[in-house]
Each structure stands twice: as structure tokens, then as C-alpha cells.
């Protein structure tokens, strides 16, 4: 209602200045204060000009300074995050590789330890065997020597027995026959009888 009122008298009241009941207290310097202010064309040029100036400067400022800066901040952050993620992935790979290497080394060490143990066991066994054989050999040697000595003693003893027998026999013959008998004959006789 108000709007149409204002429009209706737009043409006339604009020049006269102050005809409406509501706006009896017209502000000084205002030609068209009776017109509904947003539709008052007297200030259109002013508003357009100042809008152009302020909005134009604002646009230029945003385009040149503010928006590139914010865009740059966001881009730097995005790059940084991507870089950090890459680095994290790379580090994880490295850690995985290290774990794998460690596992492998551990298995190898275990295997090596096994072989070392086995070797030591084998060596010890061989050494013990060698020792045993040496001792056995020595014992065998001693036994053989002892046997040899026994045999030689027996042989000499046997030889002495012959001597004693022939001596005894010759002594007996001398006693019995009163003659001396050749030792060689006695010995041969003893030998043949001993057989």
C-alpha cells in the first residue's frame, strides 16, 4: 500500500517536496524524501557510482592479493599433507623391509648356530674316537710286547731246561757209568727224548 502510494505520487512529489502526511518532517536537502527510499531515483547515480568504486576495488583486491594468498596457503598445506603421507608410506616400507631382513638374519643365524653345534658335536665325537683308538692301539701294542716277552722268557726258559736236562743227564751218566760222556751226545739224546 505504502509502495503504491509512493509510486503514485512519485512524479509530482519529487519536485514539490513535502506533500505527504506521513513525511511532513522532510529532511533538509532531500528532494524526494516522500518517495519510498529504495525506489527513489535521485540517489541511483550515487549508489551505482559508489557500488562500482567499492565493489570494483574489492574485486581487484581479492583477485590480486587475498585469494591468491589463501589459495597458496591451501595448496601448500595439501602438498605438505601429501608429502607427509608419502613419507609415512615410505617409512612403513622401510620398516617392513627391516623387519623382513631381521627375520631372515635371525633364521640364518639360527641355522648357522645349528651347524656350529653339529660341527662341534661331530668334532668332539671324532676326537673321542681318535683318542679311544690311540689308547686301544697302545694297549694292543703293550699286550703284544708283553706276549712277546712272555714268549721269549718261555723260550729261554725252555733253552735252559734243555741245558739243565743235558747237564743233569750227563751228571747222572757220570755217576752211573763213571765215565765222562761227551756233552754233545747227551744234548742230542736229551733232545730226542724230549720230543
Amino acid at each position: 500500500m505504502f509502495v503504491t502510494n509512493a509510486f503514485a505520487q512519485d512524479s509530482t512529489a519529487a519536485q514539490q517536496g513535502g506533500g505527504e502526511a506521513v513525511h511532513t518532517t522532510t529532511e533538509a536537502g532531500h528532494g524526494g524524501a516522500e518517495v519510498f527510499p529504495p525506489f527513489d531515483p535521485t540517489h541511483f547515480p550515487s549508489q551505482l557510482l559508489w557500488l562500482a568504486i567499492t565493489f570494483g576495488l574489492f574485486y581487484l583486491f581479492l583477485k590480486r592479493a587475498a585469494l591468491p594468498r589463501i589459495g597458496n596457503i591451501l595448496e601448500v598445506r595439501r602438498d605438505r599433507i601429501a608429502q607427509d603421507l608419502d613419507q609415512a608410506a615410505r617409512m612403513k616400507d622401510e620398516a617392513d623391509a627391516a623387519v623382513a631382513a631381521y627375520e631372515q638374519e635371525l633364521a640364518e643365524a639360527r641355522r648357522k648356530a645349528n651347524t656350529i653345534g653339529q660341527d662341534a658335536r661331530d668334532k668332539a665325537k671324532a676326537a673321542a674316537e681318535a683318542e679311544r683308538r690311540k689308547v686301544e692301539d697302545k694297549l694292543n701294542g703293550d699286550l703284544a710286547a708283553a706276549e712277546e716277552r712272555i714268549a721269549s722268557i718261555k723260550r729261554t726258559a725252555m733253552k735252559d731246561v734243555d741245558q739243565i736236562a743235558s747237564d743233569t743227564a750227563s751228571a747222572i751218566i757220570q755217576q752211573l757209568l763213571g765215565t765222562r760222556v761227551d756233552g754233545k751226545d747227551v744234548a742230542a739224546a736229551v733232545k730226542s727224548s724230549a720230543r
Binding site: E27, P37, H43, S46, L51, F58, A65, A66, L74
Partner: protein, 253 residues
């Protein structure tokens, strides 16, 4: 001055602070001009100062600037695709200008720049002319495919084309009046209820008690207007993005 205090239209009056008259035209620096300057200085100052530290980890204020940036950037990207990015500063400027002008206007005694039709018409025409110029520069005659939707029977074509042309030409009207009318109506309503508080409280104790109701209404309306201030800026820019998309992809209905 007393009738003016409670007159809901009083807040829309322009006051010439520095009269400038050139060639019979009035270019005076008015309260509207002052609030345009305030709007721009506030917005530019905020955007510039909050991002001056260039923090890798943003503070609260820097986050607001960044959120604004990403909000408009994603809106433009969704509406126009990757080709629309060169209109980003323009769209961003319109959004921030309208939003801050709306918000500044909510303070008591402050002037609302966007409550004047000529301002919203100028912004809407700026978008309209930009769409026309970019559309014709980019697609030449092909831009007028915009008025010929695909898949329409040939018999209906003249009617549909006529409707499309009319709807295209009325865009700046609906675009500007939507913002203007919302701001105007909201501020008048606010002022009317606030005026009730003043008039009622002059009737003594009973009047003061009765004034509680419109006072609560004023508080609620202020909250609503806060929402409207943001929503209308959003709608204005959303439509601008869609119109720019028409200029870039006229065949893509």
C-alpha cells in the same frame, strides 16, 4: 525527529554526507556509500589480516577465511566444472560483499546496502551481462542453443523457445528482487516489532509488561534475519554460479 524514530521506513533513507553533484546527477557520498566502504574494508581487512601468518595449521580466524574460500570454490566447481574457476574471484567477491553487507545491516542504526533495489539490480545485471558476454564470446551463435532445449517436439518448439527466452530475460529481475525484498521485508518487520516495544512502553507499567512480547519477537526475528542474511547471500551466489554455467555450457541442459 520523533515520528522518524518508530517509522519502519526511516532506516532506508539516504543521507548525503558529502554532497557531490556532477552534470545534474547526484553522486553524493551517502550513508549507503559509507556502508559500502565499511563492508569492503571489513571483508578485505578480515580476509587479509587473518591469513597474514600463512599458518600451516590455521587458527580460528584463518580457518574462517579458508572455509569461505573452499565453500565458494566447491560451489563454483560443482555448478560449472573445472572451466568456471576463472570466475572464482568474481563469485567470491559477490558472495562476501552481499553476505557482509547483509550482516552489517543487522546492527541497530546501521544501514543495509542490499536493501536498496538499485544495488541488487546492479549486481544481478553484472552477472547477467557477464553471462551474455562470456557466452557469446565463447560459443558465438551457439550460445543461443540455451533457448532450445533438446528432446522437445517440433510443434512445441516455438512456445518452449519463447518461454526460455522470457525466463532468461527475467533472470536479473528475480535475481535482484529476491535479495532486495528479503532484506527490505526483514528489516521492516524487525523495525515494526521494535517500534511496538517503544510505543507500548510509553503507556506506563502495563505497557512495559505488554512490550515483553514484541521484544521477544524482535529477538527471534534477529536470529531469523541472521539466517536470512546468510541464506540470501548463498542463494544469490548459487544462482550466479548456475547462470555462469549456462554461459560456459549452453547446450548442457
Amino acid at each position: 525527529m520523533t515520528p522518524d524514530k518508530t517509522d519502519p521506513i526511516h532506516q532506508f533513507h539516504l543521507v548525503e554526507w558529502i554532497p557531490i553533484h556532477i552534470g545534474g546527477m547526484n553522486f553524493s557520498f551517502t550513508n549507503s556509500s559509507a556502508f559500502m566502504v565499511i563492508t569492503v574494508v571489513l571483508s578485505a581487512g578480515f580476509l587479509y589480516l587473518t591469513t597474514s601468518r600463512r599458518g600451516l595449521v590455521p587458527g580460528r580466524l584463518q580457518s574462517i577465511s579458508e572455509m569461505l574460500y573452499e565453500f565458494i570454490a566447491s560451489m563454483l566447481r560443482e555448478a560449472t566444472g573445472p572451466h568456471g574457476q576463472k570466475f572464482f574471484p568474481f563469485v567470491f567477491a559477490i558472495f562476501v560483499f552481499v553476505l557482509v553487507a547483509n550482516l552489517v545491516g543487522l546492527f541497530p542504526y546501521f544501514f543495509t546496502v542490499t536493501s536498496h533495489l538499485i544495488v541488487t539490480v546492479a549486481l544481478a545485471l553484472l552477472v547477467f551481462v557477464l553471462v551474455l558476454v562470456v557466452g557469446i564470446a565463447k560459443h558465438g551463435f551457439g550460445f543461443f542453443k540455451l533457448f532450445v532445449p533438446s528432446g522437445v517436439p517440433l510443434a512445441l518448439m516455438p512456445l518452449v523457445v519463447a518461454i526460455e527466452i522470457i525466463s532468461f530475460l527475467t533472470r536479473p529481475v528475480s535475481h535482484s528482487v529476491r535479495l532486495f525484498a528479503n532484506m527490505l521485508a526483514g528489516h521492516i518487520t524487525l523495525k515494526v516489532f521494535a517500534g511496538f516495544v517503544v510505543s507500548l512502553s510509553s503507556f506506563g507499567a502495563l505497557g512495559v509488561a505488554g512490550a515483553i512480547l514484541p521484544l521477544g519477537m524482535t529477538v527471534a526475528l534477529t536470529a531469523l534475519e541472521l539466517l536470512v542474511a546468510f541464506l540470501q547471500a548463498y542463494v544469490f551466489v548459487m544462482l550466479a554460479c548456475m547462470y555462469i554455467n549456462d554461459a560456459l555450457h549452453p547446450g548442457g541442459h
